[in-house]
Amino acid sequence: MRDTTFKGALSDRTARTFMGVLFGATLLVTLLNQIFPPDSALHVSAYTVTLLGKYLCYALLALALDLVWGYCGILSLGHGAFFALGGYAMGMYLMRQIGDRGVYGNPELPDFMVFLNWQELPWYWHGFDQFWFAALMILLVPGLLAFVFGWLAFRSRVTGVYLSIITQALTYALMLAFFRNELGFGGNNGLTDFKDLLGFSLQSDATRVGLLIATAVALASAFVLCRWITGSKLGRVVLAVRDAESRARFVGYRTEHYKLWVFTVSAILAGLAGALYVPQVGIINPGEFSPLNSIELVVWVAVGGRATLYGAVIGAILVNYGKTVFTGVMPEAWLFALGGLFVAVTVFLPQGIVGLVSQHWERLRKRFVKTGDTDDTPAAQGEHS
């Protein structure tokens, strides 16, 4: 039995291995980028640093989805919305930081508002010049939306396919709304042309490395948090909800409260991922809300393996690495590959890569090493969704 305290989550083997690999890779990239001069063979370019940072943001997002889908059985097709909302909150802060360095040189209004002939800042843009406020909003806005949405949905017992479809409708509606210029988030073009974050220029290598490290720390903390949640008593109830919701309800648990809690935490993590993503890629636009993005996200988790947490991280990094390579080498083939991956994983690999590896691993180990049980098998897995 695992130690279910927070300290226990921090020190269990899976978490330690995960953090070891994560920080090891981050440190290596940082050192290679900072120590070696640009013409050295060992130098890692700022592009690669940012690319890795981007992957880690996706990994954090996938982790958030795995928490609700893998452990709670809620297939959200709208997690991209929480990601984008976090991103927009960060984008608003970065926009205010531009100050009078914009094209129109207006110290108060972002360029697109000047362009649209707006006279003053809309009320919801106030406060975003302070980082603490923006940081609060990054967590609060997705969290609040998830809370309200989840409260409505879970209370009326909208489950399964219906829930998936209305989450999809949610992100679709938000996408349409953010495309409108009148909403005050830059419409079609979104927010871009960022200059600096907390006074550090976003163009410099050091800031990029700093953002990578920040992302790695966020991912590691989120991982430990999720380990802790899934290992705790609450996590056990959540698993029960996934596997037999009616039974859990009959036993006396208010299942909707558990689902709501997990859903909200997951949305906050997704928002955090979005906020870390935006300064690294330098733009946020309504395209991030598109339902396609959210579905792609589901595939990352499915490819890696559900209900393992590290599987989601592995899946996100592998699929996105594949995407980078494919779109560079043969762009036409990427959608074929992605589509094939969707089909192959759901039909042949219901447990994802992690499931495949651990099956073979068990078989090999049984053959060569005769030892007792270990404590790092993933949390209970079922074929239920």
Binding site: A153, V161, I166, A173, L335, L338, G339, F342, V345
Partner: protein, 567 residues
């Protein structure tokens, strides 16, 4: 009165003489024999002869035209009026040619000819016979210059001749063109036409034109009668002239009458605009119904979330395109081939998807969602590779273009009208299939209880494949209809998939009538909201409404009841 009568009589005589002599001339010229009879028979129609026709020696068309070489616009106007009064089938083409700057002044011999620019040269044709009479340098001839006043004159003359055309459509057009015209010459002509007009709708147009003119009359009773007659008339010109009359009148009873008439017109316009909105709502609803009805089968009856449904619609649209390419000369009826072809293409694709992917995933609806989404990406990309990512245009057949004009503010476009009927036909066919045939019975049995159905000897595997094929085939048929409304491109399906799911979920899964109600309800709601909120906001409002609605009734408008409803 007496003077006018004698003038008319003289003019008629002159006209008759002109025609007879012209006919003789034409008889000699054998190339244009049919004009003779017509000229003789309808010569009496010409009441409004121009002064210049009183000259004894009647001028030929070419002679009249040659007057257009004058630089004076007054001379030209006289020539145009004279030309228009010639009873000759060449008059209308020549007036049109003058409007389109195709009548040219040949400076070499100072004559007028039909000219067409070819390789920097004018090809000149004879105005009456259209025979090529020669080529001249581009600077040796130039189009006859006309100004706006002459344009009005020409238009009026064209309308006048149209007013006496044997074809009632032409007369209707001509009378419509004359609405709002206060030229006394035109009004006289309209008044004369009114006496002999047999077609009711032409008569209505003429009455409208005459009543608008009567608004300017000095006689109060005539004005009041005209206002009364115009009240509720939807022609845009009526509203304008009533309004402008309202701004100048100082008579209390006339003001009251005008205000009442305008109010009645506004009320009618409002009614018809609402009707128009509802029609567009029905049209959107029929599109939604077509897109969603196949999904209602695969999702509602089989419990499979087919994200590739949109792409099956797209395949149907591309099939329409391919059929048109294969039969380039038969756009009028190639749709009739496209419908079954699209059904087959999409149904076969659907059966392949079922056999190779979905078969392994029954009972795991969320995973069918992922797998079919993968299929949709593959299909989209395949279409991009085969047909290029650019949009393709499907040609709409003649019988589907145009509109059924009910009145000036309300018309039904034929393509939308046909699609509404088509959607309903598909719906009824599907309903009959499910309720009345053996396959339908088996489909319902398997969807309600697979194990029991199998125990009773139904081959559930086969039924599954056929059901999925049926749902997919209907998606293909929907694609044929959509190809008539939008561009055919690789993203065609994506834009409908979310809407289709909304319709099915809103209507209640597994209930075809629910899908019908939801499709038309959402379509009309969307279009009613659009004028108030704008297209995008209307859509957002509808989406939010559905999200909230699902909270209240998680199983849609018409939920399935009983044991089948439990998972």
């Amino acid at each position: 009165m007496g003077y006018r009568f004698s003038q008319t009589l003289v003019a008629m005589l002159v006209m008759l003489l002109t025609c007879v002599s012209w006919a003789e001339q034409a008889l000699q010229d054998t190339t244009v024999p049919p004009q003779t009879e017509q000229g003789l028979n309808s010569g009496t129609d010409m009441m409004d002869a121009d002064e210049s026709n009183r000259v004894v020696a009647p001028p030929t068309i070419n002679e009249i035209l040659d007057q257009l070489t004058s630089r004076s616009f007054d001379d030209k106007e006289a020539a145009i009026r004279q030309l228009a009064n010639q009873n000759n089938p060449r008059v209308i083409p020549l007036l049109n040619a003058l409007m389109n700057r195709e009548l040219v002044h040949n400076r070499k011999d100072d004559t007028i000819a039909l000219g067409e620019k070819q390789d920097g040269q004018w090809e000149l044709r004879d105005p009456t016979t259209e025979e090529v009479v020669g080529h001249v340098d581009s600077r040796a001839a130039r189009p006859v210059v006309i100004n706006n006043r002459l344009r009005t004159v020409i238009n009026n003359q064209l309308a006048l001749s149209g007013l006496n055309d044997p074809d009632s459509d032409v007369r209707y057009q001509a009378a419509g063109q004359l609405i709002g015209n206060d030229d006394p010459e035109m009004l006289t002509a309209l008044g004369e036409r009114r006496e002999q007009e047999s077609s009711q709708r032409v008569l209505d147009q003429i009455e409208t034109a005459l009543n608008i003119a009567a608004l300017q009359s000095d006689d109060l009773t005539a004005r009041l009668n005209a206002i009364d007659a115009l009240s509720g008339n939807l022609h845009p010109e009526v509203k304008n002239s009533l309004n402008s009359r309202l701004s100048v009148t100082d008579n209390a009873s006339e003001t009251r009458a005008l205000e009442q008439a305008l109010k009645k017109i506004d009320a009618r316009i409002n009614t018809f605009q609402t009707a128009d909105t509802v029609f567009f709502g029905l049209s959107l609803g029929s599109v939604l119904l077509l897109a969603a009805i196949g999904l209602a089968i695969t999702f509602g009856v089989m419990g499979v979330i087919n994200m590739a449904h949109g792409e099956l619609i797209m395949l149907g649209a591309y099939t329409t395109y391919v059929v048109q390419q294969l039969l380039p000369n038969s756009h009028e009826w190639s749709l009739l081939i496209a419908i079954p072809a699209a059904f087959l293409v999409s149904a076969l694709t659907g059966i392949l998807i079922e056999r190779f992917v979905i078969r392994f995933l029954y009972g795991r609806p969320l995973e069918t969602l992922l797998a079919t989404f993968g299929v949709s990406l593959i299909l989209q990309q395949a279409v991009r590779v085969i047909f290029s990512p650019l949009n393709r245009t499907v040609i709409t057949p003649e019988w589907m273009s145009g509109a059924l004009e009910i009145n000036p503010v309300f018309s039904l476009t034929y393509n939308r009208l046909y699609i509404i009927f088509f959607a309903l036909a598909v719906f009824l066919a599907l309903l009959t299939l499910l309720k009345r045939t053996r396959l339908g019975l088996q489909v319902r049995a398997v969807s309600q209880n697979r194990t029991t159905a199998r125990a009773l000897g139904i081959r559930s595997e086969r039924v599954n494949a056929l059901t999925f094929g049926l749902g997919s085939g209907i998606a293909g048929v929907a694609g044929v209809a959509l190809a008539q409304l939008t561009n055919v491109g690789p993203n065609l399906g994506q834009s409908y998939i979310i809407d289709s799911f909304m319709v099915v979920v809103f209507g209640g899964v597994g209930n075809l009538w629910g899908t019908l109600t939801a499709a038309f309800g959402l379509g009309i709601a969307n279009k009613l909201l659009e004028p108030m909120a704008g297209a995008v906001l209307a859509k957002i409002i509808v989406l939010i409404f559905i999200i909230l609605f699902i909270q209240r009734k998680p199983r849609g408008l018409f939920p399935q009841r009983g044991r089948a409803a439990e998972e």
